[in-house]
């Protein structure tokens, strides 16, 4: 019987590794919540920066999921939530063309052409969104596109609370 032990151990190892390989990669656990918003030394492309609290949204005209979440940003903006955009790794020309085609829901749009501010904000890609509280603290960090569920359950409550205070 002992002869089959190495084969058995190898089979267990191979099965375990195969299962681990087929499992989808876990979502990154680390988020920026609790950190202060880093100083964003960026040129303003359009609009005027509102006072916090606001919803900060990083996007680019070349990013398909950004287009998917775009209509929802207009909806929360219509509800009175100030939305600030950062155009990430994109040209001013392309960003303006994008607004002309799809509308501009942002109170202000900052321009991060090099993508440097994105690293300060700890992004992995676009779109990512942050709820910035009154004291410029990051209260919520969303990686990936916003959905109506995330907006209703996670993001809007921050603005309702802040208004009631």
């Amino acid at each position: 019987m002992m002869r089959f032990l190495p084969v058995l151990v190898f089979a267990c190892l191979a099965c375990g590794l195969a299962l681990a390989l087929l499992k989808p990669a876990p979502e990154p656990e680390h988020r920026m919540e609790g950190n202060a918003l880093p100083a964003l030394d960026l040129p303003v492309l359009t609009g005027e920066m509102p006072q916090p609290p606001y919803l900060l949204n990083l996007f680019a005209s070349w990013c398909a999921p950004c287009l998917a979440e775009h209509p929802y940003l207009a909806k929360v903006a219509a509800l009175g939530v100030p939305v600030v955009g950062i155009g990430w790794k994109d040209s001013a020309e392309n960003l303006n063309a994008w607004f002309a085609q799809h509308g501009n829901p942002y109170r202000a749009v900052l321009h991060d052409e090099q993508g440097r501010a994105g690293v300060d904000l700890g992004i992995r890609g676009v779109p990512e969104s942050y709820v910035i509280g009154k004291d410029n603290k990051i209260l919520y960090h969303q990686m990936g596109p916003l959905t109506p569920e995330i907006l209703a359950d996670e993001i809007l409550p921050f603005f309702v609370e802040q208004k009631n205070e």
């Binding site: 990154p28 992995r124 890609g125």
Partner: protein, 127 residues
């Protein structure tokens, strides 16, 4: 030189051309940057250090590392900047903590078990 080695050599030079970034003028500072690139992980590619990644975000992170070194920041300060933003997973060498003991201690423990097994097996055979 056969075709395969010509191919491999040209791939090597193509690969190094992809890293043609603005390096730091000071050679010692650039060497520090390069060693940090091996300590930091590319957060959008699985299992690659900054040093070997061609992802755009990795290029941006390398720029940040060089910028901080040029400003005179310490290696610890630079690593903690990235850890604060991307968590422990951004460091290629995970810290030794209660929840990472298994990670650090399992390989040497396995080697010891294998060695003990080997010695036991050989003694039984000879004895």
């Amino acid at each position: 030189m056969n075709k395969v080695s010509i191919f491999l050599v040209s791939m090597f030079f193509l690969a190094s051309a992809a890293w043609a970034e603005t390096t730091l003028p000071d050679a010692a500072q650039e060497a520090r940057a390069q060693s940090l690139f091996h300590l930091l992980r590319c957060v959008v590619c699985e299992g690659q250090a900054l040093a070997e990644s061609r992802a755009e975000l990795a290029g941006e992170m390398r720029t940040v590392v060089r910028e901080f070194i040029a400003q005179g920041q310490s290696d610890e300060a630079i690593l903690s900047y990235f850890r604060q933003r991307y968590g422990d997973e951004v460091i290629t060498k995970p810290p030794l903590r209660a929840d990472t003991y298994a990670l650090w201690l399992a390989p040497p423990a396995l080697i010891l078990v294998a060695l003990a097994g080997l010695i036991f097996y050989r003694q039984r055979r000879s004895g």
